[in-house]
């Protein structure tokens, strides 16, 4: 921290760290200064000229993204001069803008719309035709580019130049014909490409999977944690339940990163961002006993029936998808009560993937650390396969794991070796019909919980949607079984 100095903001004496940018210092005390090009993680090129303010003693208005707080600085963000300058900067941004809000996905969260309502509200003086540029340009697998809507703030080019260092986007041409283009010979396909949509203050860069699906003002937003890897990026889950006939009937419309400088900064990766597609496919909603014939059961009955089958020699397959709450109840049930020795939850090839220096971690589940911190250890899936082959496992209990992705083609025959098999989880997966029992569990968006990331940082996620059917959180299922076993349920 630098030295704290006194300065004046709109006539009120304030304190801030010397050298802090005025735009940030003002934000800290609730004064939002309009801006497009400035982004805390991407610098202050000062090209949009929206954040113009009046500085006493300066010969002309200054941009607050390039003005630092110093002792005695006297800044005005609300004078007539400033209001005029900001409104005129907005007017100039809109001279060639197509004003196609009714068909633009950015509507409702657009910097141009928001500032027009806040600081614009002028009568248009444009009598000339609009400049025409490229529309519907496929920039990459996830992102669509509309050059006419672009305000050339250069946030996206700075992102690909300075954050991913992949340079797929650039500013081409000069003057009013200048435009953002995909670098010739390249495609915007880096592992973080979706972030350019977030940082684009207007509708120039939009998500291809979200275009025309649902209006943003119908979305509910819930704080969550990305379950895509052990980084535990803070995200916001945007759900559409108000207009179920929109978004092709899917409840989750999109995921957006939430700023957490201790975990993910401003960003999230494309794997996490676009990986929610299968969330609602093949969901389990009923407690079912599949053999000898398919019968629906109540939670009470299934717990009573399962209790005697759960013994010390059972094998439990789980995954890092479980929350800290789940792990606590898991430990109470399987370790403390039943003294089960065979636990298998390590990240096998089904849950390993690419890692990089920015965010992505190799374990593609969020919470192996949660198990580790409770002292749980995992055996290897090769050993489990051997034990199954040898007929040593009577009861196999699988929680939120697709065994076909662990063992491939061998999975079905291995599963058949155990007398009783139980699948618990939100989805049916490939072998869902081969189990003896199927217990529906909630997906992470349907429960509250905590994940502990690879660095040991605990993050909370909130319930965004109602559970499907009779699904319960994993910890609640464990508690139910615990009760059926006659032991005292642990508090989640």
């Amino acid at each position: 921290m630098g030295k704290t100095v006194k300065y004046k903001l709109n006539g009120v004496e304030r304190e801030a760290e010397e050298g802090q940018l005025v735009i940030e210092a003002a934000k800290d005390v609730g004064v939002e200064i309009p801006h497009y090009c400035y982004h805390k993680a991407l610098g202050n090129p000062g090209n949009c000229r929206m954040c113009i303010v009046e500085v006493a003693g300066a010969p002309k208005p200054q941009v607050s993204c390039r003005t630092s707080v110093r002792e005695g600085l006297d800044v005005k963000t609300d004078s007539d001069l400033v209001k005029r300058a900001q409104a005129s900067a907005l007017e100039l941004h809109l001279v060639n803008h197509p004003l196609d809000c009714p068909v633009c996905d950015q509507s409702g969260e657009c910097g141009l719309q928001d500032y027009y309502m806040k600081i614009g509200q002028y009568q248009s003086a444009v009598r000339e035709d609009k400049e025409h540029k490229g529309k519907r340009i496929v920039a990459g697998p996830h992102v669509m580019l509309d050059q006419e809507r672009c305000v050339l703030c250069t946030r996206c080019t700075r992102f690909v130049d300075n954050v991913t260092k992949t340079h797929e986007l650039g500013i081409f041409g000069m003057g009013h014909t200048e435009k953002i283009e995909v670098t010739p010979g390249m495609t915007l396909d880096n592992a973080y490409s979706g972030n350019v949509v977030d940082i684009c203050p207007v509708g120039a860069l939009t998500d291809r999977d979200f275009r025309y699906k649902v209006r943003v003002w119908y979305l509910d937003k819930t704080d969550s944690i990305c379950p895509g890897c052990s980084r535990g990026c803070n995200i916001s889950v945007h759900t559409n339940t108000a207009r179920p006939w929109h978004n092709d009937g899917k409840r989750v419309a999109r995921l957006k990163p939430r700023v957490n400088m201790d975990v993910n900064g401003h960003w999230m990766c494309d794997d996490g961002r676009y990986g929610f597609g299968s969330l609602d496919t093949d969901r389990l909603g009923k407690v079912v006993k599949l053999r000898p014939q398919k019968t629906e059961m109540s939670w009470f009955d299934v717990a009573s029936e399962l209790a005697p089958l759960l013994r010390k020699d059972a094998a439990i397959v789980a995954s890092g998808m479980l929350s800290n709450e789940d792990w606590a109840a898991y430990k109470a049930l399987f370790v403390d009560t039943l003294s089960v020795k065979n636990h298998y939850f390590a990240a096998a090839p089904d849950q390993l993937g690419p890692e990089d220096a920015l965010l992505r971690k190799t374990e593609k589940v969020p919470n192996l650390k949660g198990a580790e911190s409770l002292g749980l250890t995992s055996g290897s899936f090769d050993d489990l396969a051997k034990s199954l082959e040898a007929g040593k496992i009577k009861t196999l209990y699988v929680i939120e794991r697709d065994l076909s992705k662990v063992w491939g083609d061998r999975a079905a025959s291995l599963l058949a070796k155990a007398q009783t098999t139980i699948l618990q989880g939100p989805n049916k997966y490939a072998l869902g019909d081969s189990f003896t029992y199927r217990l529906p569990a909630t997906a992470y968006v349907e429960e509250d919980g905590h994940f502990t990331n690879f660095e040991g940082k605990v993050g909370a996620y909130k319930q965004a949607l109602s559970p499907i059917g009779d699904a319960r959180p994993d910890w609640a299922v464990f508690a139910l079984l615990q009760k059926a076993l006659g032991a005292k349920a642990v508090a989640a």
Binding site: G46, R49, E128, G175
Partner: protein, 407 residues
């Protein structure tokens, strides 16, 4: 009238090293190398030499802002701005064509003072002949052992007007888009490749041999208060004799026009653009204004780079404003929004008015847009976008009234 730069221009082979040396060339460099660097810088301060590329910044003061080597070690550079692109300016072209060694001598003196071992001449891409001349002159000087331990590098521009602005020029030299930087830091602190860099115009550096030979005070005496020495005007338009004229700083506009033979065909003078198209025009009533950086600023315009365009009574102010805005819109680098969008918008409004489709309110709107641009942009190009329309509307409201019905 006293001449410094063009004194020997009647020598046909002045561009050759032999001729230049016969006339005393490179003696100043020799003298300079025998002096303390600090003392040389003092002479330049005393001379009141101003930056003649357009900004008029005191050269000695600019040099003094380069951090000393013991504080900031490592290389430092001198860059010659020869990206002469302002419409109406052609004096650098003449200086390089006729007296390349005068520039090189000045550059070597500056390099010695600043401590530059690698100095650059950034020349406008269209100046192919001048590039060849400089290349030859550098080879000649090098062959004669005059460069000492200084390497002089020639770099060519790619044809953008904005590259003539010092920080955009530095970006271009680094291989980037010519987008002006926003000081601070100023180039003298962090310029080319982040190193301390002095960027001076051709004409400015060409003055140095005289200042070293005759002393700063002698140079200062030639000009007016705080504006030392002489200045070159590139005079074009409706005059009898277009060309480059060297006059002492502070010479009256009337006398400068007289040198060029006055308004062509004895017609009435309408306007004089004093420093290149971007500058607000002067009128008949302004003929007694003394032409130096400070006096002309008091008259509401700028000396710029001395690109004087004379317009007679036949000229329509709307056409002039349109022509200049068209140029500025074409050359706007596109970095900041007000200039990028505003220049093109202004051009298109003027175009519509010229086509006979002017509507009530157009003139006021132009002036309003102009006001919203000037002072709110990154660089001087943007400032002129708004300045030009407002100046021509303000000085010739009747021309606009004729074109735009009902105001």
């Amino acid at each position: 009238m006293t001449k410094i730069l063009t004194k020997h221009f009647d020598e046909p082979k002045l561009h050759e090293l032999e001729t230049y040396r016969r006339l005393g060339g490179y003696e100043s460099l020799k003298k300079a190398l025998g002096m303390e660097r600090k003392a040389l810088q003092e002479e330049v301060v005393k001379s009141n030499l101003r930056g003649l590329g357009g900004a008029g910044f005191p050269v000695g003061f600019k040099w003094s802002t380069v951090p000393p080597e013991d504080k900031v070690p490592g290389p430092r550079y001198v860059v010659v701005n020869c990206d002469e692109s302002e419409p109406g300016c052609f004096k650098d072209r003449v200086l390089v064509t006729r007296a390349p060694h005068q520039l090189l001598e000045g550059l070597l003196i500056a390099s010695y003072v600043i401590g530059s071992k690698d100095s650059f001449i950034f020349i406008r891409g269209e100046y192919q002949n001048q590039y060849d001349i400089l290349e030859k002159a550098i080879a000649e000087a090098k062959g004669a052992g005059l460069l000492g331990d200084v390497n002089i590098h020639l770099m060519r521009g790619a044809g953008a007007y904005i590259s003539g602005l010092d920080t955009a020029l530095l970006e271009t030299m680094e291989g980037k888009k010519a987008w002006p930087r926003q000081p601070p830091p100023f180039p003298t602190v962090a310029g080319l490749m982040g190193k301390p860099t002095v960027v001076n115009n051709v004409e400015t550096l060409s003055m140095l041999p005289f200042i070293v030979r005759e002393g700063g005070e002698a140079f200062a005496k030639i000009g007016s208060a705080k504006n030392g020495g002489t200045v070159l005007f590139s005079i074009s338009g409706h005059v009898e004799k277009e060309g480059v004229y060297e006059v002492p700083m502070g010479t009256k506009l009337r006398d400068v026009l007289a040198l060029a033979g006055g308004v062509k065909g004895g017609k009435k003078l309408k306007a004089v653009i004093p420093g290149g198209t971007s500058m607000p025009p002067l009128l008949e009533k302004d003929l007694d204004i003394a032409l130096d950086f400070d006096a002309i600023k008091a008259a509401g315009t700028m000396l710029g780079a001395g690109g004087m365009i004379v317009l007679d009574e036949s000229v329509d102010a709307v056409e002039v404003a349109h022509n200049i805005e068209r140029f500025l819109a074409h050359e706007s680098c596109g970095q900041c929004t007000p200039c990028r969008e505003g220049s093109n918008w202004s051009e298109r409004i003027l175009e519509r008015v010229l086509e006979g489709h002017g509507q009530a309110g157009d003139t006021e709107n132009l002036a309003r847009v102009g006001e919203n641009i000037t002072g709110k942009v990154i660089c001087a190009l943007g400032d002129t976008v708004g300045m030009v329309t407002r100046a021509w509307i303000g000085k010739f409201p009747d021309d606009f009234k004729k074109r735009v019905p009902h105001g």
